[in-house]
Amino acid sequence: MSLTREDVTYVANLARLEFSEDQVTALADQLGAVLDYAETLSGLDTSKIKATEHVLAVQNVFRKDEIKPCLTNEEALANAPESEAGCFKVPRVME
């Protein structure tokens, strides 16, 4: 098994996800299997292959520095579950 329960809990915590003990065990199994399968690639000799920095063969797609109309304040906030004083409102953030 390439993935431990601690790995799962750690990644879950980074993603702000909460799992039961059973779910952690199941995820360690399932994700571990996926990673093991991907490990197959490590068997290949890639010493003569250039590193892939990016999967897209396209490069240099740029935009001109020209202003276009924005959303109105009402439009921007239309989907917000909560808003106040023209702002998005989120649970209190402690610094």
Binding site: N60, R63, D65, I67, C70, A76, P91
Partner: protein, 478 residues
């Protein structure tokens, strides 16, 4: 034991583009909340960011001005973390292939010159602004989200608060010259993070460092470095170990406090940004930008010394900011008296700016007006002291110096006939002084000069008056 402070800095600078880094929303500062947004910078699903070409150009220009190598190939990455000022839950930044690497900046502290290494410069987007004004929550303004930033990362080459300040000022100076940013501290266009550790002097090993983020003034930078280095030295002397952590600097209290321990907070799980394609810069592009770089502060300073024969000190002061240098150069084109212009710009103008709460950026007089004033002084039409009064009046009213002199009747009396008549009167009225002079008491001249100045309301040309007084007194003694 003697300790050494080791500092590395990260400087975030907002680039002065018209639009954001990945969308066409304006970057203007100080607008109503959430009025400069679009689906891209709001982080809506399914949108496609496109890189602003000016961001690449400005970052390249900044990199060249700071002596960096410009990468032939660089790419954008996602830096993942949760914080409500980041609608996407990741910041689009650059990880392993930044646009610039390996630069250096020379600083000078107490006459000692030193090179500070720049590890890298990368481009990224700014986050939104959290407003803690609501009673039961936190409010978010997304306007700043997606404003382009460059982050300059230094080597741990700095050894004191003064060096950190000198470096930050030099970088600001250079970048302001290149025009990539206005570097306005008060608008958050330039922010500093400080990594600081302490080690025994002479040691090659780095101590455990702490990080202080978002210092937004030179004063905060200096005070935070002083406080944190003292705190760490005290901890070490007590035999405590320094914990690697992020600390928050409270500029009002003048203290720092622990924010979070580093290991849990800094797993950003970077990966290449799939929505943005790599940036490939050809040597011709880089050369072109290099050829368009303006004269940088160091070169300008040298030119002022060589071309205008200014003392090194003057040249340094005049080239501190691009706007000051421009004001000087525009003045000197109109009037080839560099030293006189320099004196007035260094001595007379700063206190007036301070009084009016202005800076060279929004100074209310023009180079042409200053030059007109300096010519009046040079030609003895007004005295230097009157000139200072006129300058003040120019700041107050925006009027031209010539008009002020006329309106207030400040022109010097160089007409010897008129002046001689006044002097004759004064000398006749003060036989005691003439007697004293006759007896060898030169001080009595001072009294007579004072009387003449009083009678002419300070408008007498001092040199002409002094000569005339001597002539008239001699006549009386004869």
């Amino acid at each position: 034991m003697e300790y050494e402070i080791v500092i590395g800095m990260e400087i975030h600078i907002e680039l002065g583009t018209k639009t954001k880094i990945f969308c066409s929303c304006p970057t203007e500062f100080g607008q109503d909340e959430n009025t400069h947004t679009c689906p891209v910078c709001l982080g809506m699903p399914g949108v496609l960011p496109v890189l602003n070409e000016k961001v690449v150009e400005y970052a390249t220009r900044a990199g060249l001005a700071l002596n960096c190598e410009i990468a032939h190939f660089s790419k954008m990455d996602r830096k993942n973390y949760f914080y409500p000022d980041l609608p996407k839950a990741y910041q689009t930044s650059q990880f392993d292939l930044p646009i610039c690497t390996g630069g250096d900046v020379e600083i000078e502290v107490d006459g000692v010159k030193k090179d500070i290494g720049i590890t890298r410069i990368h481009i990224e987007e700014d986050a939104g602004k959290l407003l803690h004004e609501s009673a039961d929550g936190t409010l978010l303004d997304v306007n700043r989200c997606g404003v382009p930033l460059i982050e300059i990362v230094t080597e741990p080459d700095l050894r004191s608060a003064e060096e950190a300040r000198a470096f930050a000022e030099k970088v600001r100076n250079i970048l302001e010259y290149t025009g990539v940013s206005d570097c306005k501290m008060e608008q958050g266009s330039m922010r500093f993070d400080v990594n600081l550790s302490i080690r025994e002097k002479g040691s090659e090993v780095l101590g455990t460092r702490t990080e202080m983020k978002n210092l937004n003034s030179f004063r905060a930078l200096i005070r935070a470095v002083q406080y944190e280095s003292k705190r760490q030295i005290i901890e070490i002397k007590k035999g405590h170990t320094i914990i690697q952590e992020t600390r928050k600097w409270d500029d009002t209290k003048g203290t720092s406090s622990s924010l979070r321990s580093k290991e849990e907070a800094h797993d950003y799980r970077y990966f290449p940004e799939p929505d943005l394609v790599p940036i490939v810069l050809e040597p011709e592009y880089i050369e072109k930008i290099k050829s368009e770089l303006p004269e940088l502060p160091e070169a300008k300073k040298q030119r002022y010394i060589d071309e205008y024969k200014l003392p090194e000190y003057d040249a340094g002061v005049l080239t501190t900011t691009g706007v000051t240098a421009r004001f000087f150069e525009e003045s000197v084109v109109l009037y080839n008296e560099p030293k006189q212009i320099s004196n007035w710009m260094m001595v007379e103008i700063p206190p007036l700016l301070k009084e009016k709460e202005l800076s060279m950026e929004n100074i209310t007089i023009t180079p042409a007006q200053l030059v007109e004033l300096l010519k009046l002084v040079k030609n003895n039409e007004i005295s230097g002291n009157t000139g200072k009064e006129v300058l003040k009046e120019m700041f107050n009213t925006g009027k031209n110096p010539g008009d002020i002199v006329k309106e207030k009747g400040l022109a010097q009396m160089s007409d010897t006939g008129e002046l001689e008549a006044i002097i004759e009167e004064i000398v006749s009225a003060n036989p005691k002084s003439v007697e004293d002079i006759g007896a060898g008491n030169e001080k009595a001249y001072g009294f007579l000069t004072g009387q003449v100045m009083k009678a002419t309301k300070g408008k007498a040309n001092a040199q002409v008056a002094n000569e005339l007084i001597r002539t008239v007194v001699a006549r009386h003694l004869a």
